[in-house]
Amino acid sequence: MTEQLHQITVTVNGVARRADAPARRLLADFLRMDLGLTGTHLGCEHGVCGACTVLMDGVPVRACLIFAVSADGHAITTVEGCCDSGGELGPVQQAFQECHGLQCGFCTPGFITTITAYLEENPKPTEEEAREAIGGNLCRCTGYQNIVAAVLRAAEILRERDADQAGAGGAA
C-alpha cells in the first residue's frame, strides 16, 4: 500500500516552499524532513513542551500537533526566520546570549518563536508578565530565570532599535 502524497505549499521565513508529503506528516516533521529546516525541535510530540513552537501567520502553534497539509497556504516562521537579515542574531536571540538564557539549546527555538510573537503583542512586559509569557514552554536546563531576563532584555533591544530607526527617520 503506497501512501498518497499531497502537494503542500507554505511560505517559510518569507520564502515560498513546496514539497509532497503524506496527509499524516506532522508540520514539524515536514519542516525538518522535507524542507531540511532542523532548527525546530521535537521534545515530546504531544504538545506540552513547546520546543517545536513555530509561528503560523504570526501566531505561535505547536508544530507537533498540526499536520503539514493543514499549513498549506499559510506563512510559517521558524527559529531560522528569527534572525536579522544577513544572518545576524535577531533581538530575541541576542538577548538570550547576553542573559545566558540557554544551556543545551534544545528547547530554545520554541522559546525564541514564542517570545518573538509575544513582544509584538506586549512590547513592554513586566517581569511577572515575562514569566507568564514563557509559562507554556519547558526548559530542563536553565531554571527559567535567565530566560525571563532575556524576555525583558529583548524588549529593551527592540525599543532601542525602534528609537534608532525613529532617530534616523527624523534626521532624513
Binding site: G39, H46, E80, F96, Q97, F106, R131
Partner: protein, 798 residues
C-alpha cells in the same frame, strides 16, 4: 592578573549557532537514513511465548525485522556490567532484545527497520507478541517482602548489600549510650533526568574502509566506542563515535551501551545502509533510566547541644530490573550523607533491590539528594527534640576549616578515601543565615500570620564529591592561521565547555577566547576520555587543557627563542596578545601563528605560510617533533569536594494546602570559578530540578508495573511559573587537589532542595514531613493525620 579570562563571566561562544537554529542534534543528522523503531513490552513481567511478524511484512518500506534469535555472537549476550563491585553479589544486565523473558514495561523485544519512522512504527504496530504473565514486583515494599522474585535465581530480590562504617567505633553502641536518641523513617520517590532531547543513535558502515561511524546522544563517546567495538567484534580503531550537540543529559545518557547503541550500528553493518533511531518521549519514560527511589531508616544518638554521637542509617534502594551501571547511586547516598558534618560513630547499610521497573542509574545529584534529605531531616528532628534552633544544631556539628583536609573514614564511589580537601562550612552557614533572613524570620512569620497566612523557613546543606578520576585529557594545537584548536574527549550537553575550556586555554597561550575553538566528544579527534558526569568535566578536562596548553606554550618559547636569536633563551619569553615576546623587550616578538609555521619544517612551498616554513626550517630543534601542538592529561589523586547551603521560605495555604516558594537562596562554593555566568546558570537549573523533585515530579507505577504518567501531561516538570526567583551568593575555597583549584558545579543546585523545602514546610505546618515529593493533597492528608493524632493524645492526657 586582572586581565585573566578565567573568572570572567563571558557570554558563550556556542550560543549564536544554537540560537540561529544551526545546532546539530542527533535527529538533525542522517537525512535519508533508514529508521528504526522498537516493539517494547507492554507488561512488567512475563515470558515471551511467541512473536508473530507476519502482518508487518505487508508494510511498504519495511526493510528488516529483528528479534533476539536474529542476533549473532556477542550482540546476543547480555549487556556489560559497567561498574562491578564486590558487594554487588547478584548483578543482572539486560539483553539488547529481550530473550525469553521481559522484566519491565518498555523493554525492547523487536527491532523494526524501515524507510522512514512513520513506516517503521506502522510495521511495529502489526507485530504480535504473546506474553505469559508472571507476577510483577513493584515498589520497595514488595521487593523487600520478596514473596515474588524479579529474577528467579536472585534470592530476596537483593542485587547488593553493603555496609560501611567510619572507623570511629560501634555506631549502634554509641547511639545506645548517647544522652538522647531518636529514629526516623524516610522516603524519596522516583524521578528521572528527563532531558528535553531523548536518546538517539545514527550509524554508518563504510564497507570499503571497514569503518563504523556512530553518532550518539551520549555523555561518553569514548566509552561507547570501546563498548561497540567489543560487542560487534571490531578492532577499536575501526569504530568512530561522535557526539553531536546534545539536548541535555543529567545522567541518563552516561549509561552505555544502551541496547540501541549496539543494535543500530549492528543493523547498519548488516544492511549496508545508514540506520537511525530517535527515541520518542514515551520511549524515554519507559525504557531509559530513572532514579531517586529509596526508603531510609535513621537512628541517631546525640548530646544536649545536638552533637551527633552516633548515627546508623539503613537504606533500601530500588534499582529497577537490571543493574548495568552497578550500585553507584546507593554508594553515593551512603557516603555523601554526612555532608558538612562530623559525626561520632557512623554505620550505613544499603540493600539494592530488583523490581520490575525501568533501570535506576544516576540522575543529577546521583544519590546525594536522598542522603542530604536523611541527614537534614535528622538535624531538624534533633532541633525539634531538644527545642533548639535548627541552625544552632547544624553549627554544633560542622567540620571546622582548620580540620581540613577532613577524612570521613569512608570509601567513596571512586574506590578512594572520602577526604574533604577544603571548605569553610561555618562561613557558608553564616552566609545562608543572612541571605535567607533567618534571624528576622519570626517577625516575618508573625506579620504573615496577622494576615491569615502561614509561612515557614527551611535550610539544607551538602558536600559534594566532584572532579573524580581516573583522568581526562586534551590536545591543543596552534594552527598556522593562529586559530587554537582544543580537543577533549569528554562530551558536552549544555554546560558551556566550548567557552569555559577556551578561557583556560586562552589564558595559558596569551590569546583571546575568540581565537580558541573547542571540540568535544569526537573520538576521531581525541580517543581517551571518561565522560561528562558527576560534576567532573571542568575539573578534569579543565586541568588537562591547562597541562596541554602549557606544553604548547613551552614549545612555542623554544621555537621562538631560536627564531629570535641573539642569545634569547626560552625562559626570557612570554606569550601575550597572540605573540611570543621577550619579557624585557616586548618589541622583540614573533606572532604565535608564525611560530606555528616554523614548528612544521616543510620541503614543499604550497602556499605562503608553507613558503615561510621552508625558509625557517631550522627553527625546530632536532629533538623536537613537528607541529605546535601537545597532548596533556590530568589524573586526580582523588575527588575534590564542593559544598553549599540552600535556604527557602514557603507559604502553605491553610485551606487548599497549596505550597508556594516565596524565597529561594543559595550559597555555593565550587572553588575557583572559570565562568561565573555559566556556574550561576548551572545552579539555577539544578534548583529548578530540585523544586521539581520536591513538589511535582514523581514516576508513578501501578500495581501491575504500568508507568501511569509516562508523558509531559502527567509527569509534572516545572514550568517558569513554578520555579521561584533564585538568589545566589558565591564563596571560593580553592580545591587543594588540582592545579587550577577547581571544584565541580554541575549537580550542586539539585542536591539539598528537597531537604530544604521539607524543612520549610515542616516549619510552616508544625508537623513532620518524612516523604518527598509532597503535593498539596498529601499535605492535606498529613494535616488530617496530624490533627487525629493530636486529638487522640489530648483525649489520653485528659
Amino acid at each position: 592578573m586582572s586581565d585573566k579570562l578565567v573568572g570572567q563571566p563571558l557570554v558563550r561562544k556556542e550560543d549564536p549557532r544554537l540560537l540561529r537554529g544551526d545546532g546539530r542534534y542527533l535527529d538533525d543528522l542522517g537525512r535519508g537514513a533508514l529508521a528504526a523503531a522498537f516493539v517494547r513490552s507492554p507488561v512488567a513481567h512475563a515470558r515471551i511465548a511467541d512473536i508473530d511478524v507476519t502482518d508487518a511484512l505487508d508494510v511498504e518500506g519495511l526493510v528488516a525485522v529483528y528479534t533476539h534469535e536474529d542476533l549473532p555472537g556477542r550482540v546476543a549476550e547480555p549487556l556489560p556490567l559497567l561498574i562491578p563491585h564486590p558487594d554487588l553479589s547478584h548483578p543482572r544486565t539486560p539483553y539488547c532484545l529481550a530473550k525469553d523473558e521481559v522484566n519491565h514495561v518498555g523493554e525492547a523485544v523487536v527491532m523494526v527497520v524501515a524507510t522512514d519512522r512513520y513506516l517503521a512504527e506502522d510495521a511495529a504496530e502489526r507485530i504480535v507478541v504473546t506474553y505469559e504473565d508472571l507476577p510483577p514486583v513493584v515498589g520497595i515494599d514488595q521487593a523487600r517482602a520478596a514473596q515474588r522474585l524479579v529474577h528467579d535465581e536472585v534470592p530476596g530480590n537483593i542485587a547488593a548489600r553493603s555496609v560501611q562504617t567510619n572507623g570511629k567505633g560501634d555506631a549502634r553502641g554509641a547511639i545506645a549510650a548517647a544522652p538522647h536518641r531518636l529514629s526516623l523513617d524516610l522516603q524519596i520517590e522516583r524521578s528521572a533526568s528527563m532531558p528535553m532531547e531523548g536518546k538517539g543513535v545514527l550509524a554508518h558502515w563504510d564497507a570499503d574502509d571497514r569503518t563504523l561511524r556512530v553518532h550518539t546522544s551520549t555523555q561518553t563517546s569514548t566509552s561507547v566506542r570501546l563498548a561497540v567495538a567489543a560487542k560487534l567484534e571490531l578492532p577499536p580503531d575501526r569504530v568512530e563515535v561522535i557526539t553531536p550537540d546534545v539536548g541535555g543529559g543529567f545522567g541518563v545518557k552516561i549509561v552505555h551501551p544502551w541496547p540501541e547503541e549496539i543494535l543500530v550500528p549492528w543493523a547498519a553493518m548488516t544492511l549496508g545502509r545508514d540506520v537511525k533511531w530517535v527515541e520518542d518521549r514515551r520511549e524515554h519514560f519507559i525504557s531509559s533510566a530513572h532514579e531517586r527511589g529509596q526508603q531510609q531508616h535513621v537512628e541517631a544518638g546525640f548530646d544536649g547541644s545536638g552533637r551527633l554521637l552516633g548515627l546508623s542509617v539503613e537504606i533500601w534502594h530500588d534499582n529497577g530490573a537490571y543493574v548495568p551501571y552497578g550500585i553507584i547511586v546507593p554508594i553515593v547516598t551512603s557516603t555523601q550523607l554526612l555532608g558538612p558534618y562530623k559525626v561520632g560513630a557512623y554505620r550505613v547499610e544499603f540493600t539494592s533491590l530488583y523490581t520490575n521497573t525501568v533501570i535506576v542509574t544516576p540522575y543529577r545529584g546521583a544519590g546525594r539528594p536522598q542522603g542530604v534529605f536523611a541527614m537534614e531531616r535528622t538535624m531538624d528532628a534533633i532541633a525539634e527534640y531538644l527545642g533548639l534552633d535548627r541552625l544552632a544544631v547544624r553549627e554544633a556539628n560542622l567540620i571546622q576549616p582548620e580540620e581540613m583536609p577532613y577524612d570521613q573514614g569512608l570509601v567513596f564511589q571512586d574506590g578512594r578515601p572520602l577526604i574533604y580537601d577544603s571548605g569553610d562550612y561555618p562561613t557558608m552557614l553564616r552566609m545562608i543565615r543572612e541571605l535567607v533572613g533567618w534571624d528576622g524570620f519570626e517577625a516575618e512569620r508573625a506579620a504573615a500570620a496577622a494576615e491569615g497566612r502561614r509561612i515557614g523557613i527551611g535550610i539544607g546543606a551538602y558536600v559534594e564529591g566532584t572532579g573524580m578520576g581516573p583522568y581526562e585529557g586534551a590536545h591543543v594545537k596552534v594552527e598556522t592561521t593562529g586559530e587554537i584548536v582544543v580537543s577533549t574527549g569528554l562530551t558536552t550537553q549544555g554546560q558551556g565547555h566550548y567557552t569555559s575550556l577556551a578561557q583556560i586555554a586562552a589564558d595559558v597561550l596569551g590569546v583571546g577566547v575568540g581565537d580558541v575553538t573547542v571540540i568535544t566528544g569526537d573520538t576521531r579527534r581525541f580517543k581517551y576520555a571518561v565522560g561528562t558526569f558527576a560534576s567532573r568535566a571542568i575539573v578534569t578536562s579543565g586541568n588537562a587543557v591547562a597541562v596541554a596548553a602549557g606544553k604548547v606554550a613551552e614549545k612555542a618559547k623554544r621555537i621562538a627563542a631560536a627564531a629570535l636569536g641573539g642569545g634569547t633563551a626560552p625562559e626570557d619569553l612570554e606569550l601575550v596578545d597572540g605573540t611570543v615576546r621577550r619579557r624585557d623587550d616586548p618589541a622583540a616578538s614573533i606572532d604565535l601563528r608564525t611560530v606555528a609555521v616554523l614548528s612544521n619544517p616543510l620541503r614543499y612551498a604550497f602556499d605562503e605560510a608553507a613558503k615561510a616554513a621552508t625558509q625557517f626550517a631550522a627553527a625546530v630543534g632536532t629533538g623536537d617533533e613537528p607541529g605546535l601542538e601537545a597532548t596533556g592529561y590530568y589524573m586526580p589523586e582523588r575527588s575534590t569536594f564542593a559544598a553549599g547551603a540552600h535556604g527557602v521560605v514557603v507559604e502553605t495555604d491553610p485551606e487548599t494546602a497549596d505550597i508556594r516558594i516565596l524565597r529561594y537562596c543559595v550559597v555555593h562554593d565550587c572553588g575557583v570559578v572559570v565562568n561565573p555566568r555559566i556556574v550561576e546558570g548551572q545552579v539555577h537549573g539544578g534548583v529548578a530540578q530540585g523544586v521539581g523533585g520536591a513538589l511535582y515530579e514523581r514516576i508513578v507505577y501501578d500495581d501491575a508495573g504500568q508507568l501511569v504518567n509516562a508523558s509531559y501531561m502527567d509527569f509534572l516538570i516545572p514550568f517558569a511559573t513554578e520555579v521561584p526567583h533564585i538568589q545566589t551568593a558565591h564563596m571560593v575555597t580553592a580545591s587543594g587537589v588540582n592545579p587550577l583549584g577547581l571544584k565541580g558545579a554541575g549537580e550542586a543546585g539539585v542536591i539539598p532542595t528537597s531537604a530544604a523545602v521539607a524543612s520549610a514546610i515542616e516549619d510552616a505546618e508544625g508537623l513532620a514531613v518524612r516523604r518527598m515529593p509532597i503535593s498539596p493533597s498529601e499535605l492535606y492528608e498529613l494535616r488530617k493525620l496530624h490533627e487525629t493524632r493530636k486529638s487522640r493524645k489530648e483525649q489520653v492526657s485528659a
